[in-house]
C-alpha cells in the first residue's frame, strides 16, 4: 500500500522543525536554503504551509526527464531521483507545477523530497502533527471525517 506525507496546514505553527530535520538528515548541517520541504508563512494571518514533492502518479518531472533520472516506483508510489543519471538540465524544475523540485547552487544538484527512504524525518520532527506519514487512503478519509464533524456540529442542538 502506498504512503504519503499528509499536510495539515491548519496545524502548522511555522516552526521550521521539518526543514531543520530534512537538512540535518540529508546534509548533516543546518542549511535551510536547500531542503526538500519548505514552509511558507503569512505573518499577518499567522498561517503557515509546508510544501514538498507530492510524488504525482502522472508526474510531469518524470515525463520531461530525458536521462530517466526521475522515475516512478509502481510499488511504493514514490518518484525517485537518481543523482547519478541526472544531467542538471533543470527541466523538472520547469515542469513541476507545484515548484517542488528545486536547483541547489551549492551542491549543483536537484533537490526533491525522497521521503528519507520511507521514514520521513520531517513528520517525525513536526511538533504539532502538521505532517503525517500515512496510508494514502487513510489520509483522505480523516480529512473528510473532520469536515463531516463540522456539519454535525452545525446541525446539533
Amino acid at each position: 500500500m502506498a504512503k504519503m506525507l499528509m499536510i495539515h496546514a491548519d496545524k502548522c505553527t511555522g516552526c521550521r522543525n521539518c526543514e531543520l530535520a530534512c537538512s540535518m538528515s540529508h546534509e548533516g548541517a543546518f542549511r535551510l536554503q536547500a531542503t526538500s520541504v519548505h514552509v511558507y508563512t503569512w505573518e499577518r494571518e499567522g498561517f503557515s504551509v509546508p510544501m514538498m514533492c507530492q510524488n504525482c502518479h502522472d508526474a510531469p518531472c518524470v515525463k520531461v526527464c530525458t536521462p530517466h533520472a526521475m522515475t516512478r516506483d509502481a510499488v511504493t508510489g514514490l518518484v525517485n531521483l537518481d543523482h547519478a543519471k541526472c544531467i542538471g538540465c533543470k527541466m523538472c524544475v520547469q515542469a513541476c507545477p507545484f515548484g517542488n523540485a528545486v536547483w541547489d547552487e551549492l551542491t549543483t544538484k536537484i533537490v526533491k523530497c525522497d521521503t528519507c527512504g520511507g521514514d520521513p524525518q520531517c513528520a517525525k520532527f513536526c511538533p504539532s502533527h502538521a505532517l503525517e506519514w500515512v496510508e494514502d487512503t487513510v489520509a483522505t478519509r480523516d480529512r473528510k471525517r473532520a469536515f463531516a464533524a463540522k456539519f454535525k456540529d452545525a446541525f446539533s442542538e
Partner: protein, 601 residues
C-alpha cells in the same frame, strides 16, 4: 567553528563603513553568545556613562550557538545596548525567525555604531551588506515597513524594524521582528531610532554546522521527549498560551491590580487564557525550531477594537487589563496589536497607562492634560486611545512616551510608578511572592521577570514547590535562576525549555553542537560571569545598591483583598544575604576575589 559561525559584522552608520572580524574562540567559550556575547562587546567598547540615545551608544544584535539549529526552541537572539528607559544595560530577547537568518547569513553578531545622517535600513544577504535609504519608510508602522523592505529586497527577507515609536524615541520603544515578535524592554527600539536605523533585513543561504552530529541528535531527541511530555511545555502552553497565568496568579492573590493597589481582581477571568482561547484565538504559533508553540495567532471581530495579529501574552493582558481595572479582552488585545504595529513594550505601556490613571484619579492630571479623554480606572476605550496616541506621538501620548517613572515625576507623584531602575514591574505581585521581588530588585536591566523566573518554583511548582511567602532560601534560589537564565539566554534557547530541562541538558546540547565541552558547572559559571559583567557595567554607569530597591508601595502597603491579603515584600531582609551569596560586598559591589574567580579581573 560549530554552532557559532566565527564572524562578527560591524557597521558604522555615521561613515557607512562596514567590516567583519573574527569571533574570538576564548570569548565565545566564556560568554557563549547572544546576551553573553553582546554584554562582553558592550563592556569592552561602550563607555557606560554615554547617553543611551547618542551616537556613542552601540546597538548589538546577537543570536546564540543554538540559533539556526534544531536545538528545541533554540532559535532566539538578543539585542544588547544601553537602555534609554533605565540608564542601565539592556538585553532584550526575541524569538521568531530573524535570529537564525543572521546565522545563515554568516554572522554571530552585528554591531551598529554611530548614527546615520538620514534614515536608512540595512540589507544583509550573506556576505553582501548594503546600507540603503529609508526616508520613504520613515513614519511607517512595523507591518508597512516589513512589506516595504521586502518589496525592495527579497520577499522572503526576515525583517527586524522599529515603528513610529522607535523613530520618536518613545523611551520604551521596542524592536519587532517577523511582525509580531519583540525585543521588548528598556527602549532598545528608541536606540535604533536614535541611530536613524529603520530596519535590518536578512537573507542567509549558508549553513550552521554541528560538531558531533550523533551526540547532538541524541541530546535533541532526549530534550524533545522531556519537554513534550511535560504538561506545561508539551500541552498547557500550546492550548492556552502564557495568559493562562492570569487565573493562576489571581487565585493565589498575587495578580497586581489597579497599579499594585491590590493583588486580586474579581473579573480577571475575562482576560485570562481560557477566555482568550475561547474568544480570540485562531491557532497556536511557534518560533524557529520551537516545539512548544506558545504563540497566539488572534483576531478581534468586535468592530470597536477590530484587528488581527498575535497575542496577548500574560504580561500584556495584565498591563492593559487588571493593572488598569479593565476586563475587556477585545480592548486588551487591540492595545497589544497597537503596540506591535507601532513598536512598543506592552508591559511598560500598560503600567504607564495605569500610573496615568492613578494620577488622573487624584486630579494630578486632568482632561486638560489628556485632551478631553476621561482617563478613569476601567475605561477601556481611553486605555486603547492612550496607547494609540503614544504610538503616533500625539497629545498626551507624548507624555506617556516617557514611561511611568518620568511621568510620575513630572506630575509630582513618582511613588505611583511601579518600577525598579525606572523599568516597570511585571505581573507578579512581590508582596505575595517574596523571591520574585528580590529578583525584580536585582536584575541588571531593571525590573523583569524572565531574568530570574522564580515563579516556576514559587507558584507553579517546577521543578518542585517552594513556599512563596517565606524569605528563607530565596536569595540562593534567585541567584541560581538568574545565573541559569543568563547562560540559557546566551545559548539562544527559549526560557520555556525550563519547563522540562535544566542546566544539565542545556550544557549537553551546547557541548554537542559546538564541540566545546561544557559541564553543568561550566554552563552555570558562564551565567554567573555574564551576570557579574552586567553588574560591573551598571556600577560604572552610575547605578548602585540604592537602585536595588522596590517601590514603597510594595514594601509598606499590604495587599488589600484576596488570599494574599496583608502581605508586603521583605526585600530589606533578603538583599544583604543576596549580596553576600553573590560574593559581593555590603554595597553590592563584586569583590576582586569574586571577579578573579570568574576571569573578570
Amino acid at each position: 567553528m560549530n554552532g557559532w559561525i566565527g564572524r562578527i559584522l560591524r557597521i558604522d552608520l555615521t561613515t557607512g563603513k562596514m567590516s567583519t572580524e573574527p569571533l574570538d574562540a576564548g570569548l565565545a567559550k566564556d560568554y557563549i553568545g547572544a546576551r553573553g556575547l553582546g554584554t562582553k562587546l558592550l563592556f569592552d567598547e561602550v563607555d557606560p556613562k554615554v547617553d543611551a540615545l547618542s551616537p556613542e551608544n552601540k546597538l548589538i544584535f546577537a543570536p546564540g550557538p543554538f540559533t539556526g539549529t534544531y536545538a528545541p526552541s533554540g532559535g532566539r537572539y538578543n539585542v544588547v545596548t544601553k537602555g534609554p528607559l533605565t540608564g542601565a544595560i539592556a538585553a532584550a530577547n526575541s524569538g521568531g525567525t530573524w535570529g537564525p537568518a543572521l546565522k545563515y547569513a554568516g554572522y554571530d553578531a552585528v554591531i551598529f555604531e554611530g548614527k546615520a545622517p538620514k534614515p536608512v535600513y540595512v540589507w544583509i544577504k550573506d556576505r553582501n551588506v548594503e546600507i540603503r535609504d529609508a526616508s520613504h519608510l520613515w513614519g511607517k508602522t512595523v507591518p508597512e515597513t516589513s512589506d516595504g523592505v521586502r518589496a525592495e529586497t527579497d520577499q522572503d527577507a526576515h525583517v527586524a524594524c522599529i515603528g513610529p515609536a522607535g523613530e520618536n524615541q518613545v523611551l520604551f520603544a521596542c524592536i519587532m521582528n517577523d511582525l509580531h515578535r519583540a525585543a521588548g524592554r528598556s527602549g532598545v527600539g528608541a536606540v535604533m531610532g536614535s541611530k536613524n536605523l529603520k530596519a535590518v533585513a536578512v537573507i542567509g543561504t549558508g549553513a550552521v554546522t554541528c560538531a558531533d552530529r550523533e551526540r547532538f541528535e541524541q541530546a535533541v531527541m532526549k530534550v524533545r521527549t522531556i519537554i513534550q511530555q511535560h504538561p506545561i511545555g508539551g500541552t498547557g502552553l500550546r492550548l492556552y498560551g502564557t495568559d493562562v497565568l492570569t487565573n493562576v496568579l489571581n487565585q493565589i492573590g498575587a495578580h497586581p491590580t489597579k497599579n499594585f493597589h491590590d493583588g486580586y481582581y474579581p473579573t480577571a477571568d475575562k482576560i485570562g487564557g481560557e477566555s482568550l482561547t475561547a474568544k480570540v484565538l485562531q491557532r497556536p504559533k511557534g518560533c524557529f525550531a520551537c516545539i512548544i508553540s506558545c504563540g497566539r495567532v488572534s483576531k478581534v471581530s468586535n468592530p470597536k477594537f477590530k484587528g488581527e495579529g498575535e497575542g496577548p501574552e500574560y504580561e500584556t493582558a495584565w498591563g492593559f487589563g487588571s493593572s488598569c481595572l479593565i476586563d475587556d479582552l477585545d480592548a486588551v488585545t487591540k492595545a497589544n496589536y497597537i503596540c506591535n504595529e507601532y513598536g512598543m513594550d506592552t508591559i511598560t505601556m500598560g503600567s504607564t497607562v495605569a500610573c496615568a490613571m492613578e494620577l488622573y484619579d487624584i486630579g494630578a492630571i486632568t482632561k486638560e492634560d489628556t485632551g478631553g479623554i476621561a482617563l478613569e480606572w476601567g475605561n477601556a476605550e481611553a486605555m486603547v486611545e492612550m496607547t494609540r496616541l503614544t504610538g503616533i506621538g500625539e497629545g498626551f501620548g507624548k507624555k506617556l512616551a516617557l514611561g511611568s517613572y518620568r511621568l510620575g515625576e513630572l506630575y509630582g507623584h513618582p511613588e505611583f510608578s511601579m518600577t525598579v531602575k525606572k523599568q516597570e514591574i511585571p505581573a507578579y505581585d512581590p508582596r505575595a511572592i517574596q523571591g520574585i521581588g528580590l529578583n525584580y530588585a536585582t536584575v541588571n536591566c531593571g525590573a523583569a521577570h524572565v531574568r530570574g523566573y522564580t515563579i516556576q518554583p514559587e507558584v507553579l511548582g517546577v521543578p518542585a514547590k517552594v513556599d512563596k511567602d517565606t524569605i528563607e532560601g530565596k536569595p540562593e534560589l534567585v541567584i541560581k535562576y538568574q545565573n541559569l537564565t543568563a547562560a540559557l539566554d546566551a545559548a539562544g534557547a527559549c526560557l520555556f525549555t525550563t519547563f522540562g530541562i535544566g542546566a544539565e541538558e542545556l550544557a549537553e546540547l551546547l557541548s554537542a553542537v559546538t564541540g566545546v565541552e561544557y559541564s553543568t558547572d561550566d554552563f552555570m559559571k558562564c551565567g554567573d560571569r555574564i551576570w557579574n559583567l552586567e553588574r560591573l557595567w551598571n556600577l560604572r554607569a552610575g547605578l548602585s545598591a540604592k537602585d536595588d530597591m522596590l517601590p514603597e508601595r510594595l514594601l509598606k502597603l499590604p495587599i488589600k483583598t484576596g488570599p494574599s491579603k496583608g502581605s508586603v515584600n521583605r526585600l530589606p531582609e533578603m538583599l544583604p544575604i543576596y549580596y553576600e551569596r553573590r560574593g559581593w560586598d555590603a554595597s553590592g559591589v563584586p569583590t576582586d576575589a569574586r571577579l578573579r574567580e570568574l576571569g573578570l579581573a
